[in-house]
């Protein structure tokens, strides 16, 4: 599904990722942990194609295609989805218009408004998001938790093949974390081939979503790979030993 081969990434001439490698197969769940500022969010931005982040060498292959040749919107339509650590607030553009435009772009045909309305109702109910939030400006005035839920709502609506959850668990209360995790699990059940990268600082979300691999990133690349128990070890002892 995704093969990141030896990439170097810099932001404003500062090198963040160095000789970074990661291979993800269909249906796998990978976790990335690492100290603040190590470049975890940078990785998600690079995959999405944010041009502030320059890939100076290496290659990224996604579904047999050179990802760097694709624009941001093409990548999304090909199936990449990032739930951002800090989702943007966009005053003036309402959620429903935005979601319709995104769906239309993906399916390349007019959407059935009846099906759309039903789906929105089900999804927002599942996420315990108040339905009137759909008619407000995108994320504007949403609480931290509501923004995260709105990201998950978009994921479920757009049905991506590679999902990157960048600290989806930060800022969520216990109940919301459970709701978000369950929604993600439900989605993965629907689409068995979907692969996931979970970026997190806490093993808590992994109690719900069982990972296949846990990676630790330090000094610009993965320094150790293990399973769920590695996440628990990090929680207990920090990153010093790696």
């Amino acid at each position: 599904m995704l093969n990141i081969k030896n990439i170097n990434v810099s932001v404003e001439d500062k090198e963040i990722l160095k000789n970074f490698n990661l291979n993800i197969n269909k249906g796998e769940i990978h976790v990335i942990m690492g100290p603040n500022g190590v470049g975890k969010s940078t990785l998600s931005r690079v995959l999405m194609g944010d041009n502030h982040y320059k890939v100076t060498s290496g290659e990224i292959i996604f579904l047999d295609e050179d990802l760097q040749k694709l624009s941001v919107d093409e990548r999304a339509r090909k199936g990449i989805f990032v739930a951002y650590q800090h989702p943007s607030e966009i005053e003036g553009v309402n959620n429903v218009d935005f979601l319709k435009a995104a769906l239309r772009a993906k399916s390349n045909k007019p959407i059935n408004l009846y099906t759309f309305a039903n789906e929105m109702e089900t999804l927002s109910k599942n996420l315990q998001l108040k339905e009137n939030m759909l008619y407000r400006s995108i994320n504007s005035g949403f609480s931290g938790g509501e923004k995260k839920k709105n990201e998950i709502l978009q994921m479920r609506l757009l049905k991506p093949k590679l999902v990157i959850l960048d600290e989806i668990d930060s800022g969520l209360d216990v109940d919301s974390l459970k709701i978000v995790a369950q929604n993600t699990l439900e989605y993965l059940k629907e689409t068995k081939d979907t692969s996931v990268i979970i970026i997190t600082h806490y093993p808590r979300i992994l109690e719900y979503i069982k990972p296949d691999f846990v990676h630790i990133v330090k000094e610009g690349h993965i320094v150790k790979t293990g399973d769920y128990s590695l996440a628990l070890a990090v929680e207990k002892n920090g990153f010093e030993n790696y």
Partner: protein, 253 residues
């Protein structure tokens, strides 16, 4: 809602007794006698002069939508004692001089003026605070796609007119590298006044653009969503008015 529709010099109207209309060729005079709301739709390639008078104590809402080409729109607004006008103007312009003069002649009169435009525009707005305790809020948003937008907004308060409140906000988004200009001019001859103004000319917000595109929406459509939001959000419209605007002026699939 009262409606005046002018398309290529032909005027149609649907008005109740709160509004008195006089028309002489290109001069349209609207006298507002009682509390009301009015929607004016203007499609024109010729010059148009618009005069709006508000009686004492009248509270009115006017929503002007216009699509103008190579012409001058001259508006002259007079507010009497205690009158209160909410004026929204959405305009798609092609080489337009939009000149407005707002005369706040009555004590404690108040205007909220929201202007959103797209395309080649020169908006020249003069607000005269001729009476004490008058209150003006002027907010202008423009989208320029390779065109030149000029906002020249002048507000005057002479000596001995006291307790006025002036508030001015102008924002222009340039989609290409072009020159747009905002000139806020405050001519205040009196100490007892509160005034504020802000002007911003900027390109489109690339974080917002990135967010929309990262959900698969093309660059063109993302810019369309952002700019429409920027223009419509500046106006204080009711649901009904918004609906009308989208139906007539904004293409939405």
């Amino acid at each position: 809602m009262n409606i005046i529709n002018i398309e290529n010099s032909i005027l149609e109207k649907q008005l109740d007794s709160t509004i008195f209309l006089k028309q002489a060729k290109k001069n349209i005079i609207i006298n507002i006698i009682n509390n009301t709301s009015l929607c004016i739709n203007l499609l024109s390639k010729e010059d148009i002069n618009l005069e709006i008078n508000l009686n004492d104590n009248v509270e009115a809402k006017i929503f002007l939508m216009s699509k103008l080409e190579n012409n001058n729109l001259n508006s002259f607004i007079v507010l009497k004692n205690n009158s209160n006008l909410l004026f929204n103007h959405f305009s798609i312009n092609d080489n337009i001089n939009d000149t407005k003069e707002i005369n706040m002649n009555g004590l404690s009169s108040k205007i909220e003026y929201y202007y959103s435009c797209k395309g080649n525009t020169k908006q020249k707005l003069n607000v005269y605070h001729n009476s004490s305790k008058t209150d003006s809020l002027v907010s202008s948003n423009g989208i320029s796609n390779n065109e030149h937008i000029i906002f020249e907004i002048t507000e005057k308060v002479p000596k001995k007119v006291i307790g006025c409140n002036l508030n001015q906000k102008s924002r222009i988004i340039n989609l290409k590298d072009n020159i747009s200009t905002i000139k806020p001019i405050l001519l205040i001859d009196e100490q007892d006044v509160t005034a504020s103004h802000s002007s911003v000319i900027s390109p489109i917000n690339d974080k917002e653009l990135f967010y929309l595109m990262s959900r698969g929406i093309s660059k063109e459509e993302s810019i369309n969503l952002l700019t429409t939001g920027f223009l419509v959000n500046n106006l204080k419209l009711t649901k009904e008015e918004k609906h009308l605007l989208f139906e007539k002026y904004i293409f939405r699939r």
